[in-house]
């Protein structure tokens, strides 16, 4: 873990008295099941609407009610939206964690807290604002049962007042949040106002944090990665979806259900142009995907680590019998159950190699909600073009948190359905050989069950087969087939999304992928500004790696691969893929405590290693 602090502690921190505008992180500490999610979303959205670059991250426990939860909002005029470790503005609502939360703050931070918690006594280098939530909520909400909920809206008002969030935007955000539930919105807004007015009257602004209108978000949307991926799947024309609930992946399919019911009912018949099935487990989910993909459907499932493990055998079948399918892995922490509600990039290596025998699978690494959308579309194209399972490696941070994004573009290319022969083709050709490499790309032609032609049928099996898909145990045919599959993997290398590279001839290279991207970019800025260390950058977007990745490594003396796991898994895939000479240049920055990686940790880790080199 990158915990060494070798940099001047807070070199970028403004002097204590200076006004800090649009550059702060807010943390709301509550208890899960207490309904604070709406309040936090109203805050986040109001800032978003003010045109300020923001991100919001929900840190929640693996239970349903009663355990500590934190929501952090970052607003950054520089556009940095990775998690920041340092909290500037704490809203302490949870008795259980209040003391620890306060102790974790840097001097000069602000803390709004529930009067009852009596937190001000703990430190004298913070700015405290006590709020009598119970007293304020009573007149707003006569129904005692509902108070616990509405109570949380009060801090929205308090924070809005203290940070100077535009109350018009707060109300807009709140009404958007409650959609058509006008009564609920009215009640909640009353609570916001109560907080605002209390703060106006009773709290003297003493901290230095403010927000102000910007114009960075025009046309942008706010969406979770899982919803973005769901949209992508729908636009990719997915027809068969199978899933088994698991955090943090469930919301992908659940959101997809909502979208599909709305936009994918056949207007003529009112019937569904899709089938979505909650399977009995992940073994069944992937089996259904294999059956559907074999029959020509665009089929997918979505899961997390434990599900990936259970899919291992079937995915090997998919590789070897060459069946298309798309699998989303919304990664979470852990071997075994681990920390199921925390984020990680921990399945990269084992998923690339999933299943016994000589197997490997293409992986896509979306870094943004935009890529969750676009890579979902690409994944289905790739699966059908390559006739193999394709994995989209998202994570909890991306999948379940809200991220800003440009609007998603409508796809400008038709679906790529791959090499499928229909009855007409067969009439023309007289027949086909399922596993013959006709074009030298390692990919054979296939037919779909139901094709009305006597030469269409073939028998798919995971055991040894020749080019005609007939059973064989002949060694040389087995080798030929395996070599073709290897050739197909080379084709995959050309077809998958290539890296995004920023290169200006510096000595030091940084490699990142997925959500690590955001912290890596900010880290590069810190390295340059604070230490004068200029870096080149390579964001990997898929495995197998395009040749540019090897070239990038080759052209740098030291390359830091930054990732969110203990075992340097992407670096592992690089080690497996690169020529030996390049591997010596690789170093790793690893972060695996379950929280999204932050820039400072990377900067510290890189500088520690740079100093030594």
């Amino acid at each position: 873990m990158a915990t060494t602090h070798i940099s001047p502690a807070e070199s970028e921190a403004a002097p204590q008295h200076e006004r800090v505008v649009n550059d702060l992180s807010i943390q709301v500490a509550t208890v899960n099941g207490s309904g604070s999610q709406s309040s936090n979303m109203v805050l986040l959205r109001a800032l978003f609407q003010m045109g300020i670059p923001i991100s919001g991250k929900n840190l929640f426990p693996s239970n349903i009610e009663g355990l500590p939860t934190w929501f952090t909002i970052r607003a950054s005029k520089h556009g940095w939206i990775a998690r920041r470790k340092e909290i500037d503005f704490l809203v302490a609502m949870n008795a259980e964690t209040g003391e620890e939360d306060v102790r974790g703050l840097d001097a000069g931070a602000a803390c709004v807290y529930d009067e009852k918690l009596n937190l001000a006594r703990l430190r004298d280098d913070l700015i405290f604002y006590a709020v009598p939530f119970d007293k304020l909520v009573a007149p707003v909400c006569p129904d005692a049962k509902l108070r616990k909920l509405v109570r949380n809206m009060i801090y929205v008002g308090v924070v809005a007042r203290l940070l100077e969030i535009d109350m018009g935007e707060v109300e807009r955000a709140l009404r958007k949040q409650f959609k058509k539930k006008v009564k609920a919105a009215d009640l909640n807004f009353k609570a916001v106002l109560a907080g605002y007015e209390f703060a106006e009257k009773n709290l003297e602004k003493r901290d230095r944090f403010f927000v102000g209108r910007m114009n960075e978000n025009a046309g942008k949307v706010l969406i979770e990665g899982n919803a973005a991926a769901a949209l992508g799947c729908m636009m990719a024309g997915v027809t068969v979806v199978t899933w088994y609930p698991i955090t943090p992946s469930s919301s992908l399919c659940e959101t997809l259900i909502t979208y599909m019911k709305r936009y994918r009912m056949d207007p003529e018949t009112g019937k569904a142009t899709f089938a979505i099935v909650q399977a009995e487990d992940e073994l069944a989910a992937i089996g259904m995907v294999m059956g559907a993909g074999w029959a020509g459907a665009r089929a997918m499932t979505s899961t997390a680590g434990p599900g990936i493990s259970l899919m291992a055998e079937f995915v090997g079948l998919g590789y070897y019998a060459e069946v298309p399918g798309v699998i989303f892995d919304i990664q979470r922490v852990g071997p075994s159950t681990g920390l199921p509600t925390r984020t990680a990039q921990g399945d990269v290596l084992s998923t690339a190699l999933l299943s016994h025998g000589d197997t490997k699978h293409p992986l896509l690494f979306p870094a943004s909600v935009g890529e969750c959308y676009s890579m979902a579309i690409e994944a289905f194209d790739l699966a059908e073009e390559l006739q193999t399972p394709i994995f989209v490696m998202s994570d909890l941070d991306l999948g379940m948190n809200y991220w800003m994004s440009e609007s998603f573009p409508y796809p400008d290319k038709p679906l790529k359905r791959g090499k499928v022969l229909d009855a007409e083709d067969l009439n023309r050709l007289g027949g086909f050989q399922r596993y013959k490499d006709v074009q030298g790309d390692g990919i054979g032609y296939r037919t779909l069950p139901g094709t009305n032609h006597p030469a269409a049928g073939y028998f798919t099996r995971g055991s040894g087969h020749n080019e005609d898909a007939l059973y064989t145990e002949k060694g040389e045919l087995y080798v030929r087939n395996m070599d073709r599959l290897e050739r197909k993997f080379e084709t995959a290398r050309r077809l998958v999304p290539g890296p995004v590279i920023e290169q200006a001839g510096h000595d030091v290279g940084v490699i990142a992928y997925g959500t690590t991207h955001w912290a890596a970019m900010e880290c590069r800025d810190q390295l340059a500004r604070e230490f004068g260390v200029q870096t080149d950058y390579c964001r990997i977007r898929a495995f197998p790696f395009a040749d540019e990745v090897a070239a990038f490594v080759r052209s740098h003396a030291r390359v830091y691969a930054v990732e969110q796991n203990r075992d340097a898994q992407l670096a592992g895939l690089l080690r497996l893929s690169l020529p030996g000479e390049e591997i010596g240049r690789l170093r790793s920055v690893l972060h695996y405590d379950g929280l999204p990686i932050d820039a400072r940790s990377i900067t510290d880790a890189i500088m520690t290693q740079e100093v030594g080199s």
């Binding site: 636009m235 399977a279 089996g287 028998f459």
Partner: protein, 346 residues
């Protein structure tokens, strides 16, 4: 004489010859019950006049699971992984609801490793013909007990099966399958009739077909045995030798009992459901099964049938055409849809 008499070619109602319904040559042991079932499947599809391209074949792993290669040779087939054929079949039928699915499994493939997927398939009432070629053992891995092995059976290495067999018919009925039957691989007439009924049924049709393994299931007391080695073991002492057998065939009437004498003299007591039996009551079906079990008989026939029950594809309300080949215009919503969603996210 100048005239040649060409005998009329035998064809079925859609004009196809029997050969069209055959597959490649079986690589199973001579005399294996599975081969007899394959023949009945060929006959049934021929007799029913099913277009081969409308069918999709599925199986798991095992000797039994190889048999889809031996019928309907021009039809697409998918030999999946061990015990997980139901999910593959489900996926395929979701992708293309116009297909007629037939799955062949073994008792190991179904009742041991595959019981989870079996349970959920039955529950869904997926329109699929599900055949268990039931020999009470794992043929392909050389004869270990499956979960349908009879209690008290003994393997060559002395291992005894102490556990009660799982009655897949009782389970299927309990779980929601809508056509549930048991037969014997050598009962041509009954098996053919049950298969034809299954082809006509629109829901899960589960057929447990007792199908002796001539090579391994030769334990004393097994109801699925063609025991042989016992007598010949002494002069031969050969474990890797596989004897040759003809199929054992039976023909008996509804309501009656027939005792099949196997090669080693051991006996299998088959009892056929009475022709008056009413297969519409679950409770009655379960009672009959339980009773025959207590009597040491293997009761055969159609235990339960329920028509008109919506099947899984009906419940999903999917369009009539195969999802797999819907045109892009049907599966990619228009730009306006995306715009609407984007707008809602601003």
């Amino acid at each position: 004489m100048a005239t040649t008499v060409v005998p009329p070619r035998k064809t079925n109602r859609i004009g196809l010859e029997p050969a069209v319904y055959k597959g490649s040559k079986s690589t199973l042991c001579a005399g294996c019950g599975h081969n007899a079932i394959t023949e009945r499947i060929i006959e049934a599809f021929y007799e029913m006049g099913v277009e081969p391209h409308r069918v999709a074949k599925f199986s798991g792993i095992g000797c039994s699971s190889k048999s889809p290669a031996y019928f309907l040779g021009s039809t697409h087939g998918f030999n999946a992984v061990h015990g997980r054929m139901p999910s593959v079949a489900t996926g395929t039928l979701l992708a293309n609801r116009t297909l007629l699915g037939i799955g062949v499994s073994g008792d190991g493939d179904t009742a041991s490793i595959g019981i989870g997927q079996f349970v959920h398939l039955m529950r869904r009432n997926l329109p699929l013909i599900y055949i268990i070629e039931d020999n009470g053992c794992y043929g392909l891995t050389k004869g270990q007990f499956s979960a349908t092995a009879d209690r008290g059976s003994v393997l060559k290495n002395g291992v005894v099966n102490d556990l009660p067999p799982i009655d897949t018919c009782a389970l299927a009925i309990e779980l929601g399958a809508t056509y549930v039957a048991r037969s014997f691989s050598g009962d041509k007439k009954q098996l053919l009739a049950l298969l034809e009924g299954a082809i006509a049924h629109r829901g899960t049709a589960m057929l447990d077909v007792i199908s002796p393994c001539v090579t391994f299931n030769d334990h004393e007391g097994s109801t699925k045995s063609y025991s042989y080695v016992k007598d010949h073991d002494e002069p031969l002492g050969e474990v890797s030798f596989i004897p040759f057998f003809g199929d054992i065939m039976v023909d008996y009437d509804p309501g009656s009992t027939t005792e099949v004498t196997l090669h080693d003299g051991s006996r299998l007591l088959l009892k056929k459901l009475d022709s008056g039996y009413d297969p519409t009551s679950k409770v009655e079906a379960l009672r009959v099964l339980s009773e025959s079990h207590d009597n040491g008989e293997v009761i055969t026939g159609l235990f339960y049938v329920k028509t008109g029950q919506p099947n899984f594809l009906d419940l999903l309300n999917i369009v009539d055409e195969p999802l797999a080949t819907l045109p892009e215009a049907k599966v990619r919503p228009p730009k306006s849809a995306l715009d609407e969603v984007m707008e809602s996210l601003r």
